[in-house]
């Protein structure tokens, strides 16, 4: 090996036999997979944005997502942004516990990896439970793929006009825009949060597999915890996508 590298020292470092990125194959491929996944999520979100730009009116997220389990019924008042903030915070925290698991892995600290992986899994399950509640709640208000509901043409409370003041005038000019905008909004919402939720689900399953392998000492025998790093990349990416979903669906 030493002779070989001396002999090829004059050739390009991209000429083979070396690792110009100094990253293992598995980690490079995880990054490139995430790159392709980013393009998929990007396509979905940009398609959503285009449809929104092409609409005279659009559902106001603060009117659509205003419920909080128990609390909003108890207080009899809408609580916009509160529940999704909780979900966002849960996902950020589970990303933190994941990076701490990766950190423990760097130091071959098996107990640390187990502890932080366990918390990461709990965080992921909490997030999924929140999403299940939100979907169920929306479903019971009549929202689903293909639904036009929640847009009675006499009520424009939940819509706002992005392009000029006066939602009511825009709807009066063309009543179908209200129903169409609501229809599009829910289709995109359930598709994109559903696609993200599927990522969280598979992430939780991968994390459980990691935990089992760690407890069984697989990585300890292997001599390194790089698998925790690779799955960690995927888990952080899921958090990263949520940052954009949060902005696109709940804030804008």
């Amino acid at each position: 090996m030493t002779q070989a590298s001396t002999a090829t020292a004059t050739t390009s470092k991209w000429g083979g036999g070396q690792s110009p990125y100094n990253v293992s194959y598995g980690k490079i491929m995880m990054w490139f997979f995430l790159l392709s996944d980013a393009l998929t999520f990007g396509a979905l979100l940009i398609s959503y944005g285009t449809t929104r730009f092409a609409s005279n009116v659009w559902p106001d997220p603060n009117e659509v997502f205003h419920s909080f389990p128990v609390l909003s019924d108890l207080l009899h008042k809408p609580m916009p942004l509160m529940f999704v903030s909780l979900m966002t915070f849960i996902l950020i925290l589970s990303s933190v516990t994941m990076v701490l698991a990766v950190h423990a892995g760097h130091y071959n600290d098996k107990k640390g990896v187990i502890r932080w992986m366990l918390l990461t899994i709990i965080g992921g399950i909490c997030f999924l439970a929140c999403q299940a509640w939100e979907w169920t709640h929306l479903y019971h208000t009549g929202a689903w793929w293909g639904s036009f509901i929640d847009a009675p043409l006499d009520s424009v409370k939940h819509l706002f006009n992005m392009h000029k003041p006066g939602t009511a005038e825009a709807i009066a000019a063309n009543p179908s825009v209200a129903a169409n905008a609501t229809h599009d909004f829910y289709n995109y919402f359930f598709t994109i949060t559903g696609f993200h939720g599927a990522h969280v689900t598979s992430g939780v399953i991968l994390n459980i597999m990691l935990l089992i392998n760690t407890v069984n000492g697989t990585y300890e025998r292997r001599g390194h915890y790089e698998m925790v790093e690779k799955v960690g990349l995927y888990w952080h990416f899921v958090d990263l996508v949520w940052v954009f979903v949060f902005t696109c669906f709940y804030l804008l």
Binding site: P20, K27, T50, L81, A104, F160, R221, L233, L252
Partner: protein, 146 residues
């Protein structure tokens, strides 16, 4: 597994494990309680605080704008900038992309610059359709003119 067989077993079990050649995963770090380790953990919690703070600011602006009934392009821009800031910290610190070699960072990030074209092209398209629907709808949709 006895201690003196340990290394050999790794070799035979993971002959094709490139992780041992590259990435330095076998380069033994010191103790988890070392100064270096504590510094790294501190950085992780600092970034956690920052991400939470940015989220709280976003929610505060969102609620403020909602109750004031304001929808402005400036607020949208602020949200987008804060989102990019959060994304950058997650990728740089949590995903450790900041610790990789420059050429690898570019290999991952450069393809994403496609999004610049992607976003501009589709927003322009959406605006065009809005314009067409608002001004030319009657000439396209014959039903509505009857």
């Amino acid at each position: 597994m006895s201690a003196h067989h340990h290394h050999e077993d790794i070799q035979s079990l993971y002959e094709g494990d490139q992780s041992k050649l590259y990435s330095g995963v076998l380069a033994h770090h010191s103790d988890i309680k070392s100064e270096e380790s504590r510094k790294q953990v501190k950085r992780i919690w600092q970034v956690t605080g920052l991400l939470s703070l940015v989220t709280i600011i976003e929610v505060a602006i969102g609620l403020g704008a909602h109750y004031a009934g304001v929808h402005s392009a400036l607020i949208l821009t602020v949200f987008l900038v804060l989102t990019i800031v959060k994304a950058a910290y997650i990728v740089r610190v949590f995903m450790h992309l900041g610790d990789e070699k420059k050429n690898f960072v570019f290999a991952v990030l450069l393809p994403l610059s496609l999004f610049i074209w992607f976003i501009i092209a589709f927003i322009v398209d959406g605006k065009h359709w809005l314009h067409m629907n608002n001004t030319q709808a009657d000439t396209i949709n014959i039903e509505s003119t009857k």
